[in-house]
Symmetry: C2
Subunit: 401 residues, 2 copies
């Protein structure tokens, strides 16, 4: 948490509560403190608080209606209903889960007008929410987190299958995600996995333990056919990075008509088998299927043939039994996996020992810049929560269920 | 070697000699055979033999003079002198070293008008050259290869520090290299090493042996400052692949004025220390220094600080003792190395066990497409050898010593 000479902290067993004071005070304090930032990341750039924010805490509730009306507009697919929101000068109780991506705690804590609660464990999170916590910043869910005061789950993750979405929406709890915040890091990680496969770097790294100088034939991305399955913000970021690599790229998307990114050819999911047949490399970037079923099974892997597969989406997208069979006795040349049907990957999984597999421990979204980028989404949504603007990454509206 | 119903083979202990017949016959035979190619690579696309090639074997020697004159032009820095060359229909004895990159043997053997000799070992190579071999295709050199009949060393490698260049030139032996043929593969390998460092894939791969699910903080290339040291064809291929990655790129070159590639800012080698100070990531792509000295020592590594270094140039470019010190006790975040001062890397080298190092066994140039690309350089030079055009990648002229 950034040091601020004007912030007030109190603690009790396992929980730290910090009030960041009034917006003007906190912002001023932060800027004066000149904190050097964390992990090589610049400190959050807080714009001077606009004059309009200096309005009474008892701002008439009527002023927040436009935002709520937008939430209730016809394109809203979730059962969201209006719920009490607060004006900008009212302190909002924000519970920060102890497990958060790099920098999220620091950047969110530096925002003005929040009462930040930082429990140290799962029980502490549940207690803080029972004690009046309104906003939960967490990509982890536990049923003990449900509380009458909870109004908004602000997840930093792109996926949301961990949340009981229907139940939360039935209780008028807003859910927002971190979709897009990860895109650059995840795209780079997918690229790293792809190149590690074509250049046999996993084998090279594993050979180091025995000082083994073994020179395999490597391959190139140049001239290859690449299919980005479930193309969205991450897939677009991946595709942009393929500029200058001399590869052919197509995307696969549930509804190609809604696509507006940089890839010229988008196929519907119904054509996935044919796409696998065409492709040399599959990059899975989609969230989990609604029913948790696999997109890539034995038939798709057989169609892919002597190619490679990279998964940075969700473990459930691949039928792991079929994958292992394709690696062991099929033509598949390699798999770079950041996500698995069960995480952490169980110690007895054959994926750990397959020479064609590179196991990456679900770190595709990891980046020192995460907090800095996520706080922009959070700030936008904080304003919406206060009735001062549009929600962003709203599950059930911006993010289809 | 591609099967051809019209080729004639003879063998003796350890050596296979195949005459590929007259140009027209061999090309026709190859096309008719419809060979499926090797390693997923298309078979060489041999254009129909031009009508002009059907000229007498006793073509007047005067016709080859223009090519020789070009070789003797003022921009030629090597002591090359004219030597007997042959007309297109005269069979040329070509010795293929047993160790050649993927596909070179097959593609060169498929060329018309050559007497291909394929010794199985070092002694066989020497014997074949003493027996009248004119052309040696090899990136390996042994002093026993010197012979009165040797006229042209056609190396598939980009580096040439393994050859006794002065001695060969004094004997009027032409040396050509494979510069540029590797560029795409090497650039992709350098990129793979860079991303494996920023995404900690080496550690992830090494953790697989223990089924260890350890989640480090990863980093991004996005926003990083990258210096390509010794920028040339490989560096340019690397820089083009950085399009769309949001990184800042500069090149470092002995003589920036001669640069005409895609990178906008090129610094002289004299500014290397300042470049290291500026950069987050160093990519070494240059050949060895003339005197074999290191470009990157303790001072440069200290200037680089908490960055990464990738070397796909030559092992001698980095002072390995200084590198190990910077990894062990300095700020350096990681090194991705494909080349080493001694290869294979000795089993007792601390580089094998450093958790920040990814050891790649000198395979950056490895690609199934190598033979297909190299044969284009070889064909061009074969024509020049026959007095029918310009040499390409000529050491001492196109490739500065």
């Amino acid at each position: 948490m950034f040091a601020s000479s004007r912030s007030r902290s109190t603690t009790r067993a396992g929980v730290s509560i910090t009030s960041t004071g009034s917006p003007t005070q906190a912002a001023g304090a932060f800027i004066m403190a000149g904190s050097p930032g964390i992990c090589g990341v610049d400190p959050p750039s807080l714009a001077p608080v606009p004059e309009e924010w200096n309005i009474p805490a008892t701002r008439p509730p009527g002023l927040v209606i436009p935002a709520l009306l937008r939430m209730m507009a016809p394109n809203r697919a979730s059962p969201l209903a209006p719920h009490p929101t607060k004006g900008p000068a009212m302190s909002i109780s924000v519970v920060l889960h102890p497990k958060l991506p790099e920098g999220v705690r620091e950047y969110v804590s530096a925002l003005p007008g929040l009462q930040i609660v930082t429990p140290q464990d799962d029980e502490g999170v549940a207690r803080a929410l029972q004690d009046g916590g309104e906003v939960l910043v967490s990509f982890i869910w536990n049923e003990s987190y449900l509380s009458p005061s909870l109004k908004w789950v602000a997840s930093p993750s792109a996926g949301f299958d961990q949340f009981p979405v229907a139940e939360l929406h039935a209780r008028d709890v807003v859910i927002t995600t971190g979709a897009g915040v990860h895109a650059d890091a995840v795209a780079e990680h997918a690229f790293a996995l792809m190149l590690a496969l074509t250049r046999n770097l996993g084998t090279a790294a594993r050979n180091m333990a025995e000082a083994k100088w073994q020179r395999p034939l490597c391959d190139e991305v140049f001239g290859k056919k690449i299919a980005i399955v479930g193309i969205g913000r991450i897939g677009d970021a991946f595709a942009r990075r393929l500029d200058g690599w001399g590869a052919e790229v197509v995307g696969v998307k549930r509804n190609p008509a809604t696509y507006s990114g940089p890839v010229e050819v988008i196929h519907p999911v119904s054509a996935l088998r044919e796409v696998c047949d065409w492709a040399d490399i599959l990059i899975l970037t989609s969230p989990a299927q609604v029913d948790g079923s696999a997109l890539i099974g034995a038939a798709e892997l057989e169609a892919l043939g002597a190619g490679w597969i990279v998964n940075i989406g969700r473990g459930s997208l691949i039928d792991e039994t079929a994958l292992i069979a394709a690696l062991d006795s099929g033509e598949l040349r390699g798999a770079g996996l950041d996500v698995f049907s069960k995480e952490p990957l169980p110690a007895d999984s054959p994926l750990w020992t397959s020479p064609k597999v590179l196991v990456s421990p679900h770190v595709a979204g990891s980046t020192p810049a995460f907090g800095k980028r996520y706080v922009k989404v959070f700030e936008t949504n904080l304003a919406a929560y206060r009735g001062q603007g549009e929600w962003m990454n709203l599950l059930g509206r911006d993010i289809p269920l």
